[in-house]
Symmetry: C2
Subunit: 166 residues, 2 copies
DNA sequence: ACGGTTATGGCAAATGATTTGCAATTGTGA
DNA sequence: TCACAATTGCAAATCATTTGCCATAACCGT
């Protein structure tokens, strides 16, 4: 795919550009994809999210972001997320639930999560990932490439611990 | 098969009783549950497994363990696994696939996994878990109790890396 | 701005996985 | 051996994911 560095002032799609709507829009276009109202809304929802979102949540957040109008169809959200996964812009997060949850994946700020198995509260964990540095070692030891990981902690939050005791 | 001290065992999986068929049988009975041919076969399949098994696999391995006869119904395997999860004897493992996979959970030998996202190969990782010691810290810091975790690495195995390059 | 090309989106139906109801069966303790 | 409750097979229900089809709309070149 030819890269036209027409005006070098900004937005090289492949650069570690901070995840911004414009940056993502550019990236999509560079792949021959189109930027639509639905997609803008979905991306905004994901950008604003403080925790992984389910398809329903993306749908409702998206319509809120785009200030009203019809929410994107469920299938549309589904296809968009499949696309973003394909492009490694988003990833599925294992929250131990039946349906899928997604978050944008910024290679510099990936997050692990703490999930209350009772009330469902999700807390992104602060600080450095404790296993990121292992990816390289594991890759070498087992002859793997492109190693990523998924790390979640599950437990009972304070409230739910109390409730369980009574 | 020496059953040295199978009495005084009516309680939790915390009795660092080794995970053996008899031990598990006893545990189930202590909960008022019954030990049947199906259950014995399913447990044997799980005990023998070197990696997490899907419901189908449990079904086929179970019939092999019990040396023939009808394989347990799919719903039976499903209910058995729900039960074992409930009792914290087994857990679901996130292999990034659509359907669920299970493994017995021995608090002393829990395993994280390396999964090839292309061919599906699953490799239990040797050695100490790199985050087990964090569970306590996270529990304290966030006011959680009963904290567990799920850690999987994903990537392309040697073969699949080669194929992808061509 | 206009029009042709083609990605996209809505709708509904197909697929796939999980879960449940129910009657017949079977394990267990008495 | 009996009575009772747990278990199981089978089929149907539920829930989540995925796809086909065609009308629509984004983008490109004029
Ligand atoms: Mn991490
Ligand atoms: Mn671990
Ligand atoms: Zn909670
Ligand atoms: Zn592979």
């Amino acid at each position: 795919m030819p890269r036209s560095h027409s005006h070098h002032s900004h937005s090289h799609a492949e650069d570690a550009e901070p995840f911004t709507l414009d940056g993502l829009a550019e990236l999509l276009r560079s792949k021959g994809l189109r930027m639509t109202g639905n997609r803008r809304a979905i991306l905004q929802a994901l950008l604003k999210a403080k925790k992984p979102l389910g398809l329903e949540e993306i749908q409702t957040e998206a319509v809120r972001q785009s200030k009203g109008g019809e929410p994107p169809d469920f299938a549309t959200v589904f296809r968009m997320m499949a696309l973003l996964e394909e492009l490694k812009i988003a990833r599925k997060v294992n929250l131990g639930r039946a349906s899928s949850y997604f978050e944008l994946v910024d290679s510099r700020h990936h997050r692990d999560h703490l999930v209350c198995t009772d009330c469902g509260t999700v807390t992104p964990l602060e600080g450095n990932c404790p296993v990121e540095s292992l990816e390289r070692q594991i890759a070498r030891k087992h002859g793997y490439t492109q190693v990523t990981h998924s790390l979640e902690f599950f437990g009972l939050c304070g409230d739910c611990s109390t409730d369980a005791a009574s």
